[in-house]
Amino acid sequence: MSDIKQNSDGDGAGDSDSDGAGETLVAAPILRVRDLSVEFSVPSADGIFGGRRALTAVNGVSFDLHAGETLGVVGESGCGKSTLARAILQLLPASRGEVVWMGEDLVGHPGLRERRRDLQIIFQDPLASLNPRMTAGDIVAEPLRTHRGEIGRAERRRLVAEMFERVGLSPVMVNRYPHEFSGGQCQRIGIARAMILRPRLILCDEPVSALDVSIQAQIVNLLEDLQREFGMALIFISHDLSVVRHICHRVMVLYLGRVVEVAERDILYRSPRHPYTRALMSAVPIPDPRIERERRRVVLEGDLPSPLDPPSGCIFRGRCSYARSRCAEEVPVLEELGGQSVACHFHNDI
């Protein structure tokens, strides 16, 4: 379909069957994140003369991502999932840790522009992430202009038209402006822009949350089809655990900037171990009134604690019904349990 071959080794690793991810575990990961932290400096509570203090939005996150794999990152507002995505892409500086892409640490790396070909992002708000003064065709062609200057105009036009078709847009729409498209179509433009360089990894930051239900399914299917065809890995950031269950091979649950649980998809949804993961799952409404009537919810008390003043020990303990004194004293580390890692002192008891 295309002459762009730099990623032609993105082979069938993206097969959608559930053992697709298992196969690739033997190979080296394409992305290794180690102990990644992101801090923001914010004015302190003492008013304008009070100086500044650090807010840790992402706190010691580590994970591997393999070629063709889809990793879900779930959590509620303020859990750091978008910050994590931006820190991986070096759009935000990391305060600590490593982001190793294909064996090369990106943190503080000068030759980042090269890598950006391989690492793309799709945003939540499909219209706001497209320049309103550029035509859809120019938007999709821009990465080619920036990274593949050697490609001539005619060829570029051909590649853009081909990509339009591939994401389900009519190539005659290239001259239209973003406002002339519906939300779902704008998201297709965003996907075309991310795909045109055949990246090895696309970070999808809530790519379907702003779309109507009937359109969400179209976009999810499109991402899955593209992954099957081109084998790119996806990091799928979402607050919607139902969508994540559908599209991801592995899922990481964040709470207040920390990983509380990470597991193979089927293991996580069958037997979540962290009390927060359990509460999160039990809160998701299921579109079936009979099931909803029978369901017993784990209702979380209270709100997310302030990230400026996180609790000592386990960050979840203030809302956890299993919390004991040890939880206040000791930060639980992620413990590997075979296909599943949990950061809870008492995961065996609950």
């Binding site: 509620e76 359109i215 999810v220 269950r245 998809r265 089927d266 809160a283 579109p287 209702v299």
Partner: protein, 323 residues
């Protein structure tokens, strides 16, 4: 004779004058709402679900007009003067919106925003109004309500603000509480708290609740009756179990099948509904859904299928069901 329903809407049409011509956001909607009912209004962008209730509460934008009738307690809501509507809205029919931050006035203390309704509408003394306000804040689960009564909206989290909105909506014991996507902007664990609260309040106060939402999961957990809207019309109505387990309109069926579910392992691709949401300015002749429908026939392009009852408490607007 049985008593008339709490609210009877008949052939409601809401038109907007736009530079590109007239747009019908709501196109001939009829339904009854009984006392203590919980009605789910399901629809996507452009379905008219919000404008339907904006019409009923006199909140249409200036270029909008509503026709038809909406009998509430013997009076037609559509013909009320703005002053008479003020006596109904917020008193007997309350509304909570999606975004609690923009519905609360950021400059005013919660106390002021809560007591104003009571002193204005109910002629309560300030002291009595204050007690009532604090009582309701406690009821909707604001911890330390007496102290926080004097707070400003920004001092509360999103979920707490929505609780405050619910408390304000309940101040005058309304008979109808309209909730327009009240949990869409909230996190899922907070959404669960708010839905629990709405369920409890309905039981406790006997308020009829209208839940306007795109989220079928929310409807499944909260509502007893459901109207499915598409392009300004009711395409299907029925009891919640029937809608979810025996959907007849292809759009309802498509919506249910297109949703990934938490309790289902990944199967094949999702059943996406093809095409785009309806463009109200360029609706096709006949059934508005036909371009996206898998069961389309010739008759679908000839005339709009009427909403017809095919079983007790069930109706659908589709030639496939009626034939």
């Amino acid at each position: 004779m049985t008593a008339p329903p709490l609210l009877r809407v008949e052939n409601l049409v809401t038109r907007f004058d736009t530079p590109d011509g007239e747009v019908r956001a709501v196109n001939g909607v009829s339904f009854d709402l009984e006392r203590g009912d919980s009605l789910g209004i399901v629809g996507e962008s452009g379905s008219g679900k919000t404008q339907l209730f904006m019409s009923l509460t006199g909140l249409l934008a200036r270029n909008g007009r509503a026709s038809g009738s909406a009998l509430f307690d013997g009076r037609d809501l559509l013909t009320l003067t703005p002053r008479a509507m003020n006596e109904v809205r917020g008193v007997r029919i309350s509304i909570i919106f999606q975004d609690p931050m923009t519905s609360l006035n950021p400059y005013l203390r919660i106390s002021r925003q809560m007591t104003e309704v009571l002193t204005e509408h109910r002629g309560m003394s300030r002291k009595a109004a204050r007690l009532r306000g604090i009582e309701l804040l406690e009821r909707v689960g604001i911890p330390n309500a007496e102290a926080r009564f004097r707070g400003y909206p920004h001092e509360f989290s999103g979920g707490m603000r929505q609780r405050i909105m619910i408390a304000i909506a309940l101040l005058c014991d309304p008979q109808i509480l309209i909730a327009d996507e009240p949990t869409t902007a909230l996190d899922v664990t907070v959404q669960a708290q708010i839905l629990d609260l709405l369920r409890d309040l309905r039981r406790e106060f006997g308020t009829a609740v209208v839940m306007i939402t795109h989220d079928l999961g929310v409807v499944a957990g909260l509502c007893e009756r459901v109207l499915v809207l598409y392009a300004g019309r009711v395409v299907e109505s029925g009891d919640v179990d029937d809608i979810f387990h025996d959907a007849r309109h292809p759009y309802t069926e498509g919506l249910l099948r297109s949703m990934p579910r938490l309790d289902e392992a990944r199967g094949e691709a999702l059943h996406a509904i093809p095409g785009q949401p309806p463009d109200l300015q360029a609706l096709p002749r006949g059934c508005a859904y036909r371009a996206r429908c898998g069961y389309v026939r010739d008759v679908c392009s000839e005339a709009v299928p009427p909403l017809e009852s095919f079983a007790p408490r069930r109706a659908a607007a589709c030639y496939r069901v009626s034939s």
